[in-house]
Symmetry: C2
Subunit: 193 residues, 2 copies
């Protein structure tokens, strides 16, 4: 890895573990094993480096979610694949956790990739559910936008419950809960549980 | 207010706005308008003061949620009242947001009231849904524990989506989504929408 890549990867790790407010430039330099001069050669400062790190993390999250959502089967199967994909639950969401970071939310440039990623995810799931509705996979009353927001919020809030409990169990319970509620809206024989 | 109360209230505000990691003892003293000597007279340090603040915030959150959940009507009405209660959405949950604070999660004493509050909330909603199931308000397949976890997670994750968007709209959309999914599980004529 180049020095610039090492700085971005170290920042990504620290933002996930400690958030922006809890990460000092010194901690980034130590983890990356580079000197202060190198950092300022490549980046204007902590915010600039954090922006590169958040954009990269957002790309990775989007690609991972898209893979789960692009699988085989109907709309319910694809949302199930997203909900049940393997996760390091106790680490939380590397993008969503930044919303609780006051210095990220106060900075429009840093907030932008966080917003775009979560907004994209809601839109992607809503589109899948809408296609499912059009194919008659769900009863006619299902609202794709509202349901997609509930699905994404359950995952994000599931991390909150899991971290509070120091156990992935409440995340799994919440995800099964929203999945059961969604599955009950399918018409016909539906997928095998 | 006494000096001790002023310190606790200032810490509660700062924890909500900036989290534990982002709040310095100096910021607490400035907001409370008290000197360092006063703080150490009443509290062993920042963690001790934060513990008093988190416990107080947890009590308030529990009382507020309990009021919404103790209203008139059936199980679905009571969960609806909880989901739709007035909230300062963009501030986030003063308890849930602490789960993204690495120094809170790493300290068992600070994590304990966060866990207990969210665990109590899940249990309270699960008990209401279980009673509803026993009275035949929901179809027989509804799982009270899983559904309660999904309800609490939707609220917590709704804050994440709202803060990312700098708008309460995605919170409202997510909450309406989980409420529609729950309402669809009620039997009989059901509550008026």
């Amino acid at each position: 890895m180049t020095t610039s890549e090492r700085l971005v990867e170290s920042t990504r790790e620290l933002l996930w573990e400690r958030g922006f407010t809890g990460t000092s430039p010194k901690a980034i330099l130590q983890r990356a094993g580079v000197g202060q001069g190198s950092m300022y050669h490549h980046f204007a400062g902590k915010s600039d480096l954090a922006l590169a790190a958040i954009r990269r993390t957002a790309e990775v999250m989007r690609a991972t979610a898209d893979t789960a959502l692009s699988g085989e089967g109907g709309a319910c199967d694809r949302v199930r694949a997203y909900l049940l994909r393997e996760r390091d639950v106790l680490r939380g969401c590397p993008v969503g956790r930044l919303t609780m970071d006051p210095d990220v939310i106060a900075d429009p440039a840093l907030r932008q990739p966080v917003f775009e990623t979560l907004d994209w995810l809601r839109g992607r799931i809503a589109a899948i559910l809408r296609e499912g509705c059009e194919r008659g996979e769900f009863d006619a009353e299902l609202d794709p936008e509202e349901t997609a927001a509930a699905v994404v919020a359950t995952v994000q809030g599931g991390y909150v419950l899991a971290r509070a409990a120091e156990s992935p169990a409440p995340f799994d319970t919440a995800v099964r809960g929203v999945l059961s509620l969604l599955t009950a809206r399918t018409t016909g024989p539906g997928p095998v549980a």
